[in-house]
Symmetry: C2
Amino acid sequence: MSSINSILQRSQAAFAVYKKVSGKQKALFLEAIASAIESLGHPLIQTAMQETRLPEVRLVGERGRTCSQLRQFSALVTEGSWVDARIDTALADRAPLPKPDIRKMLVPLGPVVVFGASNFPFAYSTAGVDTCSALAAGCTVVLKAHPAHPQTSELVAQAIQLAIKETGMPDDVFIHVPDSSFETGKALVQHPFTKAVGFTGSFAGGKALFDYAAQRPEPIPVFAEMGSLNPVFILPKALVARSDKVADMYGASITQGVGQFCTKPGLLFGVQSEQLERFKTQLADRLKAIAPATMLHSGIAESYVHNRASALRQAGVTLLAESNAQPLPEQGTPTLAVVRAHDFIQNQQLSEEVFGPYSLLIAADDIHQMKVAAALLPGQLTATIIGEEEELHAFSDLAELLAEKAGRVVINGVPTGVEVCPSMHHGGPFPATTDARFTSVGTDAIKRFVRPVSFQNFPQKLLPDELKDSNPLGIWRLFNNEWKK
Amino acid sequence: MSSINSILQRSQAAFAVYKKVSGKQKALFLEAIASAIESLGHPLIQTAMQETRLPEVRLVGERGRTCSQLRQFSALVTEGSWVDARIDTALADRAPLPKPDIRKMLVPLGPVVVFGASNFPFAYSTAGVDTCSALAAGCTVVLKAHPAHPQTSELVAQAIQLAIKETGMPDDVFIHVPDSSFETGKALVQHPFTKAVGFTGSFAGGKALFDYAAQRPEPIPVFAEMGSLNPVFILPKALVARSDKVADMYGASITQGVGQFCTKPGLLFGVQSEQLERFKTQLADRLKAIAPATMLHSGIAESYVHNRASALRQAGVTLLAESNAQPLPEQGTPTLAVVRAHDFIQNQQLSEEVFGPYSLLIAADDIHQMKVAAALLPGQLTATIIGEEEELHAFSDLAELLAEKAGRVVINGVPTGVEVCPSMHHGGPFPATTDARFTSVGTDAIKRFVRPVSFQNFPQKLLPDELKDSNPLGIWRLFNNEWKK
């Protein structure tokens, strides 16, 4: 793996320079990446369409989100307060001992290895949140391209290289590794210069990287988002009041993007009743009416066929509905299955993700059994409750339980459509992610790639600008226990 | 291990209640613990003196620090803004899609297993920072008593039980496990209800716990502080100007508390010169004049004798000075050894901690060689530079390098004496700790035991008080991108 060694040596050498680059310069760099991606124009979208089979409108939207993310991080590091600066000045006369001057801020970890994601060729790949939050933090990035969209990745990497030249960043601040082998990924994670890893993909892939990282002589953090069932709990009165509307929302949410979202609702819980029977029929009708569509790549399509069949073979599981249209090769068929909660509770395999437009409706005998099933669920990115105001209050313990299971709890909505804002947390307890304390959506994603350092008794000139008395950057700081600019 | 199972079941049941206790109630509980510890009076100090051989003045001081920590966390959760609340209200008319109401705050992880530390029988043991930050966060605590001070631990645990009764907390919010076996510790970390681990002790102990936690079906975070060499770099002009004063400071810092501090300076780097020779003699004179003293327990005393002898046997290492007084059994002898940087660089074993009043002075041929040695150091809690203003600037790259190696960089001071304030970071890159992103000193220690949860589209009544529109707790929140009370 001498080439891996040379890659990480280059990344480490670039880090020695890049870690000292100012927030405003990093901001220009991120902004230049966004502009360079936009300048690639329609050929980038066409390449991504060919490689990912995603429709143009989705890819145009995702490119917009990607550039918007780059600009959000650009704004974050331009403003600069994200370093969480804290200053406690000296008290030379304090008894029994004088208090030294201590100042603390966040500093970058070092080279970060990022794995491109298949389901977000822009927003979670080459210049996606992992890359852009690491670069914003002051880390260098080694990007392993996802083998399902190598040309798309190459084009975006060229845009980043252009931005590097334009803004005078060190050449190796970003290194694109188009190698598709598993061994390369493993070697990148194991290299001693690598200080953190970002990954979005399967449980098997993410967990393998986590294990390699934990078993290194020097363990490093891995931020792997590995999948989620995104359970939805539909309370009885909501079905009385608006089962048709709920079926509309969920028919769309389950099949959006051929079900290839980490937040796709994979489990729907209801209490056995006439209204639930009606809802089943309504939701079944929605899914029957939605045509199969081509999945991201042949591997994902094959896995969907295999995992769907395996799920449908489980004891007590019945196929309720599938698309009226026959799928072409590599298309995913919208599918709804049902099972009784009694069978669900006894079969852990039903809590495994089927990535694609598949959802399982679980009919509980009563609310109590629904809660028993909820308590057995593994960690999730999201959990949702559909209910009328009064029943939400009556079963407030369900919302409390779900806040223990998930990183985001939604009421009367769908989990798909992840808003990018300061209050968004995208990261749930294991096995949804390897570290529920950090988000991979929004500007807080920068916190994954930094650590605090205290500077004690430093002369002003030796301090980073963020910590100087004169506050030349004009950032918010906790100064002797008071937030000040 | 059925008893371990029952302990964690009790802790989990208590968590279901305790996680809903308000900040103000938790504050009263922490305050009551501090008062109950103080009410134990002198018998607690006497018990600790017998068990730890630490002098009365040190233990009285440490008890004061422990109660002060409890009160700092009490103030933190009374005030309440630590939950980092963020609110983004809905925009129903936004095109193309309405923006939902999303609110985020930190929530407790669940039961935390804390291991008492031998070298801080109060401040890092039964009611120490790990326990008190976990309780402040809303986690329950299972405390494995350190076998070197079981009676001290039992007395403090009784104080906590008293505080539980007085403030009406669930009985099992804190469970004291006096079992000293290694297997018990392992089983506590491996139990599925355990959600995080706090540990202060040896590298072997901390790394074993880290590995057990990483290998669980559901990996959990381990915050282990495992030791540090705390290298000190003494620049040439400082020795010209004030070698006598530096020798004073370091004679005291190396031997304070019989060298049993995680921040004891274990490596002193200087550049070969007449002044360094003079400094050697001066520091040697200080150490010769300091009497050996009894170490914390026989295991630590034996390890010191063994590790000191092993360090002195390394190629090129010479004993420069030891205390003029002969040590009694189980006492640690102040010791200074020297080695040339050339030999130090070639021998990794010289970068292993000798826990006790031992320090190794490394004589470099020049500043360049000193930096080469610095670059090879493993992660540290602290690193220090002693220098005159002009040479600090001339060698500013050394300070930059040390900020990569350590969690705290000190200029013209000693690393011992860890100030408890918002700007203090106590936690360095591996192997100093298992997670350099978190501190075990100061109120930021609470961040180890929480994770964010987003609440989307919640009715006001179902929201935690911290996130309600009316802000009934009056805390600081990021409200539509603006910090507000």
